[in-house]
Every structure is written in C-alpha cells, then in structure tokens.
Amino acid sequence: MLAYLLNLAILLGIAVILAWSLNVLIGYAGIFSVMHAVFYGVGAYVAAQFALHVSADFALATLAAMAVTGALAFLVSVPVLRVREEYFVVAAIGFQMVASTVFITWESATGGMGGLTGIPPARLLGFELVSPAAYLALTLVCTLACVLVLLALVRSPFGRALKALRDDETAAIALGKHPVMLRLVATTIGGAMAAIGGSLYAFYVSFVNPESFTLDYSVLLMAMVIIGGAGSLLGPVLGALFITVFPALLNFLQVPSSVLGPVQQIVYGMMIVLLMLFMPEGLVSAGKLLARRSK
C-alpha cells in the first residue's frame, strides 16, 4: 500500500509540474495550447538519451532537457503564435500530430514505438536515487523549485505584462506591451518547465515511449488546468490532484478495467461542462463561492 501511495504521489508531483507549466500559457498568457504533451515528451526523450549516453546526473540531464525543449517551444511558437485563438488551437493540434508521428518514426532518437528502455536510475550529488521515497523527495524539490520560479514570475513585471495581455490585449498594446515577444517568452518558459516533468518521468519509469505523449495527454493536461482553475497557482494543483487521484479511486472501488477508460473520459468531460456552467473559474473558485454564500 505504501509503495502504491508513493507511486501516486510521484506521479501527482509530475502532473502538478506539467499543469503549472501549461498554466503559464493558458492562465497567464491566454494561449490555449493543445500541444503541451509534445514538450513533456521531448523533455523525457532528451533526459533519457542524456542518461543513456552522457550521464545519469539528474540535474545535468534535466538542464539539457529544458534547454532543448525551451528552444523547440520557442521555434514552434514563432509561426504558430502568428495565428490567433481558434486558429491557434488548430495549429497546435497539427503540431501535436506531427510530433506524435516523429516520436514514432524517428527511431534513432526515440526508439520508435518500442521506446527507450534501460534508463539508469537518476543520480544527484553522487547519490543514486533508487528508492521511491528518495525519488519522491526529488520530485518534491523540483515541485518546490517550480513554484518558487512561478511565484517570482507572476509577481514580476513580465508576469503582470502577461496577465495584462490576457485580460485586454488592445489595452496592453496601447501601454507599450509587445504581445508576440511576451507570448514567445511564455511558451519558452512553459516548454522548459514541462521538460522538468518529462525528465522526472523518464528517470522514474526508466522507459519512455510515444504513448505517454499523445494528443489525449495534451487534452488531459488542459483539463487539469481548466478543472482546477487557470491563472492561479493552486488551481492546477487541484486539477492535477483530481485527474491523478480519480483513476486511483476508481481502481480502489474495483471498477472493471474494461470500463475504466470510458468512465474516466465521461467524468472528465462532465466535470469540464459542469464547471464551465457553474464554476467557470475552476475548483479553485469553490472557496470564494462558499464564502459568498455564507455572507
């Protein structure tokens, strides 16, 4: 049972990092990206290749993954950010599909459908992180580092400029903001942060293949942010908690595995519809609503 809970906690930590990284785009920059699993995947592949061929040092592998993924996010965003709103969503889906194909077909880099196997355990400061408890500690440190960076980011002039752009682009431009530049930086940061999640995942499961980085997972990440509440630090945590713990709960309730997938999809879909109708700001706004009702 303890091993199961540790596993769940590590996966939750990774999901929180991914949801936060997507929240930089959706919540702060107003970019509805449906390609975030690509950056998660590239981060995982780069960290895996680094571990297999260079060093299993987690910090170095993660930095390499962040650099490559951040650069890719920047390069992809240059053309993609030229289109707006619904066209951006379509372009992002297109990019996700291209990337999924590349993950499958570029065998020398990704191992194709078989994936990359035999990723060695992560090493940090000379220690090999073999036990789940040690890996959970590493995940928590990464999560803490991400939240500190995000706190600094949203309270910085850059964070304010992003929020201004999200709230009213015309007014932000009138006040001198450069929308394309700001969004490029936001997508680069979001991509690089997703790579931290990818690196954690690759070292944790010691195996990566394209099935973990599909369009479905991009949509699931988006659901985490929307269900939890975009534009806040707590919202994506709640969303990640819901999306990660809910399947575990179904398992616990011994829902047959044949219907597990469809039940999850139906519940996520219903949750999003109901939240949009009654709590458009996500689960994070539940506290506010309760406070208002109690007055």
Binding site: A152, L153, S156, P157, F158, R160, A161, K163, A164, R166, D167, D168, T170, A171, A172, I173, A174, L175, G176, K177, H178, M181, L182, V185, G231
Partner: protein, 253 residues
C-alpha cells in the same frame, strides 16, 4: 513636442470616415475634439495611435514620423491613450493596473521592479490608493474612469489622448478630472481630448476642433467655437445671444 496630422484619410467599406484632416495639436495645450457621433473622432485617435492604418496622410510627433509604427512603438514615442470603454485589466488589482503602465517600456523583464513611487503618487492623487489591492473589476464606474486616467498619467508620457474620460462623472469627480488635466498641462503635458460634456470642454480646452463627417468644420478657442452661431445651433444647442450664451444641454452626445 507638437503632434501634427497632415492630410489624413481613412475609409471603411467605401464610407469616408476621415476625409483629409490636417491639424496641429499644440504643445502644452489641451485640444478638444468635438462633433456628433460618427464624426470620426475615435477613428482619428486610432489613426494617431497606430491601431488603424491611414489610407493616406502622415502623423508626426515631436518632429518624428509615426507612420507605419505599431501602437506599442507609438507609446514609446510618448503618446498614450485611453479608451471610451476603458479597457481596464479587470482581473488585476488597481495597483497592478498602474504598475503595468509604468513598466511598459520593458516588454520582457523578469527581475526589474519598476519604481513604485510614481504608481503610489498617481493612485493617491486620483483617490484610489486605499483600494490598490482591490480588483479593477470591483471598482465603481467613476473609480474605473479614474483608474484608466491614472494608468496613462503614470506612464509619464508627454502627450495623452483621452477618449471621453469625463462621461458619466458627477460633480466632485468632474472637478477632480478638471484638476488632473490642469495639473498635467501645467507640468508640460499635451492633451488631445474627445469629450461630449461641453462644460468640461469649455473649461479645460485651450483650443477646440470641431469634426463633422470626417472633416474639420471649425477650429478655434472655446470662445470662438461656442459663439459660432451655425455650430452652436446645430451641435451644441446654444442659443447665441441668450443669457451668457448658455448651453442648453449636451446636444452633441
């Protein structure tokens, strides 16, 4: 630092909205644009601030051409505008709304904390310092108007383009608005104002430009414009020759 508009033309779908406007907005003066709805006042603002490209004509500020520049570049040249519908950042605090305006020249800057003193000074001046932690969306209409004004005042830009800043304000608020414009002008600022409240226009303007169907129908001092019998009858509702030529209302609204 004067603003010069030379032979500006703009049409939308065959409708000539701006029709050869040539105008020099004098430095350190308040110039008001008045005229009926659809006269082209806001379109002129959009042309000057780069939100709409002119079909023909040029705009120069402080001797430099603004033609073809993006709005954010025009802001960096010292021209800042407000909007008729305010366009506040409603999900940001009052303080953040002003800080964003202050930090506008650093489009990407993670670590620099702009000098917060100007934000505090401006917010205190417009009476919103005590509400600085409130969301802009929670403010009253008049407070939103002053936040919109605070945002542009905080930029330190030498030229403000204010689109109906006094609409809907009551007596004390109008007095405060008047004081703010006067202070800005006395500090060396230039204002181009669109306003339908003719009492305010008369009180704050050094010059009034009357726009009609995209053309300048008349320009002059408030006295000259308000005593023009044709304009007075047609647009201002003023009976020239009546007791102190009183305004019969805000006919141009």
């Amino acid at each position: 630092m004067s603003l010069e508009l030379n032979e500006l033309y703009k049409s939308f779908g065959g409708n000539q909205v701006i029709d050869g406007v040539t105008l020099e907005i004098e430095d350190r003066k308040v110039t008001s644009l008045v005229g009926p709805n659809g006269a082209g006042k806001t379109t002129l603002f959009n042309l000057v601030t780069g939100f709409v490209a002119a079909d023909r004509g040029t705009v120069r500020f402080a001797g430099r051409s603004l033609d073809g520049l993006a709005p954010q570049a025009i802001k960096r040249h010292g021209l800042v505008r407000t909007f008729q519908n305010l366009r506040l950042f409603l999900d940001m605090t009052v303080h953040e709304n002003v800080l964003v305006a202050l930090e506008s020249d650093l489009s990407v800057n993670f670590w620099s904390r702009a000098n917060r003193a100007p934000a505090e000074r401006v917010l205190r001046r417009v009476g919103l310092w005590d509400k600085r932690q409130q969301m802009a969306g929670e403010l009253s209409y008049a407070e939103r108007k002053f936040l919109s004004l605070a945002r542009v005042l905080a930029t330190g830009a030498p030229c403000l383009l204010l689109d109906e800043p006094a609409a809907g304000l009551d007596g004390p608020s109008l007095r405060l608005f008047h004081e703010l414009v006067r202070e800005f002008k006395d500090g060396g600022g230039t204002v181009l104002l669109i306003e339908h409240n003719l009492d305010i226009v008369r009180d704050v303007s050094d010059r009034i430009v009357f726009l009609d169907k995209g053309r300048i129908a008349a320009a002059g001092t408030p006295q000259e414009i308000f005593s023009n019998p044709v304009l007075g009858e047609l647009y201002f509702g003023i009976r020239v020759g009546g007791a102190r030529g009183e305004a019969a209302g805000h006919a141009a609204r």
